[in-house]
């Protein structure tokens, strides 16, 4: 007798031959044509997001372009998503993954509002803060990278924490997180971050920075990014989050551009000397 309980009640191999599992899917013993695969690279992408903390809030910006490789495919893509009056998320990287995260945040927002009354000051105090949101998104990103199925994004989460102090932190496709008074993702990490740091070298400096200067620094950085980042465009979104709420502008144009430096560039392109 066959003592293996799994074999009981099945056709006997020695009488009927081994079961032909040819037509079955792989996880039921079918032929293994390919291993399971996940995203290996992003498809439609957004470039840098930059942000800076100032005395009472945060300024964040990202341009409105979604590129398909080097093709400027979509030019009206909003990459800054306000979550509530205390938090904004900026998305760099894959746009479809951004849309997934946006829906995730929207369902989180619906849940948060099951028992929320705008009339009640206690409820307003207890609003989900940017810090809470960052913790959540960091967990989502880390879970997905641990499943070897990452969401191909770099996120900046900014706004106010539970004590209404300015908050700014990042989470990326690897599940890496960190916080700083100025942050920039993608190309901006190389080009804009040094400029932002010049304005705000440390936490102390950010506490002294006023809103107007912060906005000015960010606008300047967006311009520099447009000069040198080939995946950027001249229309962008900018948001300011402070105790008054979120002030989001989604159709800003770069002003006072100067391309005088362009013909000085040597070393790549078509020149031979």
């Amino acid at each position: 007798m066959n003592h293996n309980p799994q074999a009981w009640g099945r056709p006997r191999d020695d009488v009927y031959g081994a079961y032909n599992s040819q037509y079955l899917p792989q996880h039921h013993g079918g032929p293994s044509a390919h291993p399971t695969t996940h995203t290996q690279s992003p498809i439609v992408t957004g470039t840098s997001v930059i942000a800076i903390k100032y005395s009472t809030g945060v300024v964040i910006a990202a341009d409105n372009l979604a590129s398909y490789g080097s093709l400027a495919r979509f030019t009206d893509v909003k990459r800054l998503k306000p979550f509530n009056r205390k938090a904004v998320v900026g998305f760099g990287g894959d746009v479809s993954d951004m849309q997934y995260l946006d829906r995730l945040l929207s369902s989180l927002d619906v849940q948060e509002n099951y028992s929320h009354n705008n009339d009640d000051p206690e409820d307003t105090k207890a609003l989900m803060s940017a810090k809470n949101l960052h913790t959540y998104l960091a967990k989502v990103m880390y879970k997905r990278r641990s499943d070897f199925n990452p969401l191909w994004n770099s996120l900046l989460i900014c706004g106010l924490d539970e004590k209404n102090k300015p908050f700014l932190a990042t989470a990326d496709l690897l599940g890496t997180t960190y916080s700083a008074p100025t942050l920039a993702t993608g190309f901006g990490a190389h080009l804009a971050q040094p400029l932002l740091r010049k304005a705000v070298p440390d936490e102390e400096a950010s506490q002294k920075l006023d809103k107007e200067t912060a906005v000015e620094v960010v606008r300047e950085c967006m311009k520099v990014l447009f000069y040198r980042d080939a995946r950027s465009m001249n229309e962008y979104s900018i948001a300011v989050v402070d105790e008054k709420g979120v002030e989001l502008k989604e159709k800003e144009k770069l002003e006072n551009q100067s391309w005088a430096f362009a013909d000085q560039i040597r070393g790549y392109g078509t020149q031979t000397v």
Binding site: E122, D123, K125, A126, M128, T135, Y136, K139, E162
Partner: protein
């Protein structure tokens, strides 16, 4: 053996639309020793009377701290309370882990409420035989919730459940207006007084049979037992003697 045909299980309505099994479960709460809870603008306090099986045995556990910001007091089946409190601890930790945020008391209360409701609508399950007071502080301030076996949950200013708790509730109703503005110490005294009012003639509050749980704004929920509450037990009823209830207060000394 049954009182009527409609009380065999929790999936049968009586012709009046009542569910007897759930009502019987509420009776189990009344078998447990009394617990009291009160909130002020700044604090939430739980007070409980503990029973011991015999002279030499230990006393029950009546107050269970769940997270740093809140705890529960129970009346009824302690083992059911343990199931619920373990669940509450898990949920509280989950909130801290995923959002880095202490769970709202309204949220945790409604989660156990929903769990309890399931037990009243499916055959083969029984309602929980325990009532809980959930007290502490979250981002919306201090709170006190009452949980019943039926799955009913209510936010209260003050509440007492368990054996002879009607007397405690009478005290609470009489002093209702004072609670909101009470200090930490006053609130603890009120809780002990309410607890004392529900004692039977031959009993009194001692450091062995009394438990306290206190939470406040910027103050973690902490349980006080034994020698730690001796001071409160000494002073709680004295000050009352000088107050409006002079006559009743005198009895304390006898």
């Amino acid at each position: 053996m049954f009182r009527n045909n409609y009380d065999n299980d929790s999936v049968t309505f009586s012709p009046q639309g009542r569910i007897f099994q759930v009502e019987y479960a509420q009776e189990a709460v009344k078998q447990g020793s009394v617990v009291v809870g009160i909130v002020s603008k700044t604090h939430a306090v739980l007070a409980a009377l503990k029973r011991n099986a015999e002279e030499l045995s230990s006393y029950q556990k009546k107050i269970i701290p769940i997270d740093t910001h809140f705890g529960i007091a129970l009346a009824g089946l302690a083992s059911d309370a343990r199931v619920l409190s373990n669940f509450m601890k898990q949920q509280s930790l989950a909130s801290r882990l995923t959002y880095d945020r202490p769970i709202f008391l309204s949220e945790i209360t409604s989660r156990i409420g929903d769990r309890a409701q399931t037990n009243t609508q499916q055959y083969g399950k029984r309602p929980y035989g325990v009532g809980l007071l959930i007290a502490g502080v979250d981002a919306k301030g201090p709170h006190l919730f009452e949980f019943q076996p039926s799955g009913v949950t209510q936010e209260m200013i003050a509440c007492g459940i368990g054996a002879r708790s009607q007397m405690a509730r009478t005290y609470l109703e009489r002093n209702l207006d004072e609670f909101e503005g009470s200090s930490r110490e006053e609130l603890i005294k009120h809780a002990l007084c309410a607890l004392k009012d529900s004692l039977s003639q031959d009993k009194e509050l001692t450091i062995d049979n009394t438990s306290l749980g206190v939470g406040g704004i910027d103050e973690n929920f902490k349980m006080y037992e034994g020698q730690d509450i001796a001071g409160w037990l000494e002073t709680a009823f004295e000050s009352k003697a000088e107050g409006e209830e002079g006559g009743e207060g005198m009895e304390v000394d006898s």
